[in-house]
């Protein structure tokens, strides 16, 4: 009988509801406040109404990988960019707002 089936291990920064803050290191997810979609960018001040409408109101709700803001409110108070799987809560990468993060194939 099949005694046990093994899966590859997770990396340290992908497990246990923890987030790698670029400034503080691996921290508990409870220290962060979710701040939503990090793919939307504030348009230029002179952008048209439609551009601001998209920025303020329109959000994708992807099943799978998503790039998000997690605000380290109980730590360094920095906005951390996080690539998270909305289905499994796996975290593939974290970075600063200036970083461009690789998003895995869903």
């Amino acid at each position: 009988m099949n005694a046990c089936a093994m899966r590859p291990a997770f990396n340290r920064d992908k497990i246990m509801h923890q987030i790698q803050c670029p400034w503080c290191g691996v921290r508990d997810e409870a220290e962060f406040q979710y701040k939503g979609d990090a793919t939307v960018v504030r348009p230029a001040d002179d952008a048209d109404e439609a551009g601001f409408f998209r920025y303020v109101y329109l959000r994708d709700n992807p099943k799978g990988w998503h790039t998000e803001w997690w605000h380290h409110v109980a730590g360094c108070r920095q906005f951390v960019k996080v690539v998270r799987n909305t289905l499994t809560h796996e975290v593939a990468a974290t970075g600063t707002p200036a970083d461009t993060l690789q998003v895995p194939e869903s």
């Binding site: 046990c4 899966r7 590859p8 291990a9 497990i15 923890q18 701040k35 002179d46 109101y57 409110v73």
Partner: protein, 990 residues
Amino acid sequence: MSVGGKRLAQGGAIDRDNTIDFTFDGVSYQGHPGDTLASALLANGVRLFGRSFKYHRPRGLLGIGFEEPNALVELRSGARTEANTRATGIEIFNGLVASSQNRFPSLGFDLLGVNQLFGRFFTAGFYYKTFMWPAAFWEPVYEKLIRRAAGLGTASRESDPDHYEHSHAHCDVLVVGAGPSGLMAALTAALTGARVMLLEDRAWVGGMLALEGQLIEGAPAEKWVDAVLHQLQSMDNVRVMTRTTAVGVYDHNVVVGLQRVADHIAVPGKGDPRQRLWILRAKQTVFTAGAIERPMLFGNNDLPGVMLASAVRGYVHRFGVTPGRLITIVTTNDDGYNTAFALHEAGEPVAAIVDARASAGELRLDPEALGIKVHRACLPVKAVGWQSVKGLVIENEQQQRTTIDCDCIAVSGGFNPDVNLYSQTGRSPVWNEAIAAFMPAEHRPGSQSAGACNGTYSLAECLSAGAACGAQAAAAAGFDKAPSGALPAVPATDTGTILAVWHGRSEGKVFVDLQNDVTAQDVTLAEQEGYVSVEHTKRYTTLGMATDQGKTSNVNGIAVLAAARGEAIQNVGTTRYRPPTVPVAIGAFAGHERGKNFQPFRKTAFHQWNVENGAVFVEAGQWLRARYYPLPGEDIMAALKREAKQVRESVGMCDVSTLGKIEIFGPDAAEFLNRLYINNWLKLPVGKARYGVMLREDGHVYDDGTTSRLGEDHFFMTTTTVNAAGVLAHMDYHSQVVWPELDVVFCSATEQWGGFALAGPNSRSVLQKALPGVDVSDEALPFMGVLSTSVDGMPVRIFRISFSGELAFEINVPWGYGVAAWERFFAAGEEHSIIAYGTEALTVLRIEKGHAAGQELDGRTTATDLGLGRMASKTKSFVGQPMSQRAGMIAADRPSLVGVKVVDSNDRLRGGAHLFDRADDVDSRGSMGWVTSVTDSPAMGRWIALAFLKNGSDNIGKRFYAHYPLKSEVVEVEVCSPHFFDPDGERLRG
């Protein structure tokens, strides 16, 4: 013939030299240390443990562990009462008080037992069908009726005197269940050096090895269990936690465990919690939760005396108790025979073995050689007996019936791997024909199952699977030192075959779910009525929805549904298991976050003075704010009017420490503010304050406050109390994400600066007396002026700003100077009869001045609605500016801020009233506006209010009617400017 359970002359892991006294339903009994409530009651011959949920049928004990569906009791009494506890899991202690549930008025004589005579009205969906109509009957009639008839225990109305706590822990390998597989998994992982935690629901470890007489290394298995336990406990990297149930598995291998710290003693030890909820974070989890035996479906299979076969031999072996005097075994597999052998070896008679199969596998002993009658290829039809089992009718393949006299029926319909935790990881169990059960398939990464919960039943295979999974889990967690040592030697056994028997040739009521009283007939009826999906059947019949989550009933129910659908079981599938695996007291989830500890209180810099001077406090978010300071005999209205009047006539002090305060530095600080606020900040001179308004990006007003320029590159912002944290996060986002090019830094200073308002015509005189030598004249400190100074070594910031409309100053001192500074100023005001005023008087004063606050800044109003539109700069962009120009945001007929006052000074106004242009025949569609803040104004001599009204300024001077339907009040009001008092602001510039 005597019937029922009894204590055997010898055997069992109980301390026969000591006795424990306890009571059940008011009757005193004795047991021994090591007994559970279930084993001790069985030993005393108790058969009736409760009444069933719907039909109030008598119910006895079915199992021996957390699978027990029937023997739910109310444990303890008074404030410590805990309902729905399983007698099988309760360790008895001296003085234990337990009572049965669901009986009315007594367990033996139950009036509602007549429900079963009307059984046809209680079929599937009976709640839906019976209590549907009329809706008005729900609360007064149906709900009470259902609760009376079906209440599973009652909660105490007293506050729980015990406390519960939360603990967090990390480990490399978490093993759930300390049976043979779990012990091997934990030991193997631990020997690699990995940090291991081993959870066990029971007070003792060993699982099945502690419940039946197995041999390991030629000796009773308990010896090996003790040795492994001792070895594990001696290792620094191992934590063995008994009385701890894994109640939930979450993402990333977060496992929640409930540790019953003090449930086995009368009162928790000093400082101990009753229970502790563990939040465990494991790199790898190994589920070794075992398997649960499946009851069989036949008529009256719920009679007291019908038990799981493995439970019967567990009581014999572990507790030295036999549940009956003459026991019949009914089995579909070889394991059932082991119960017959255990009884025989204990010297107890076995009435017969009924085997559904034509022949058994390779057995340890020959039953017939032991004198036990075996009925092969026979199925149970019905149990006979009224209050408990008196016999069993069976039928062979030729449909010939035989009645066997017995007082206990030990049934084995096979074993269901406990896939609860596996299912919680989001994976579905699959049907396995060989073991006739659902078992795990592909696991979530980072978790595995070993042993019986993975469908592996022989001891040798459990030990090897446990070792393999333990080693692999440790390796996956980064510990690859190969564990040494051979597996312990055990006799080779064949787990044999099983014949999956579901609903055979039974008669009468056949119960599938004992706890929720769901019969096989209910499941079949549900299918006929179209509830063919297993998830629909579950909800329609309530199958598996009781506190046991269908541990003994789900698979039988699925099988009956499959038969009704004419499909294979695998096509029906299982329902999803959800946490918690066992009922958990709400107190354990709450932990210490209850009552006053639900969230921390924040106290202001002057809190102690407020306490000592009789302040009545109000909770504002987490803050405790002084609401008013009543004189003896004064009520709130009298106090707030006196306080407001004294501020207008002389001087008062108000604690405003709760305002959000943010220190902002950097060469781009002014530019940063310029982009956050609607008004201009670049030209604000050093030493000046300015009132600012912020929008959200959607164009609505977010927050307001005064911000001061303390230096060329240094600003000091204040926010409203409620938005202090939000504004800081709003600033973090914009400085880090949107405008990272701006050279600006800031941090919260809310709790670094204590602040109070000093307001009233005499405020400058008080200020001068408190700060001798500081020039506080109108020239040195004009309206909106700011002064940073110090007095006697105490830094002081003085802001000449006014919320009350009077000549006023806001004084900030470092938090630690709070009470000393307050007392200094209060003493300085003595000659002017200075008073402290609270948030109520503050509200009176600000409404009289038409200042918007939280009720007006409700997230739906624009700057123009609030009369602040002219502040918005036309020459710059700012957060919210683009969206504030959308058509709906600038529509001419948007309700805007006005004042209203009652025409008849005897009338009163209420917040939330709606404004209409007529007194009668109104409905919500005709509302022209609404009242936000109200006060009985001392200055105006009547009730006044701030309100939003369509075409607000055009309506000034007109009469409207304020309707308050909650109290059927209609009050005539006159619309006016919101600046009721001193509209030209002469007083605050004085």
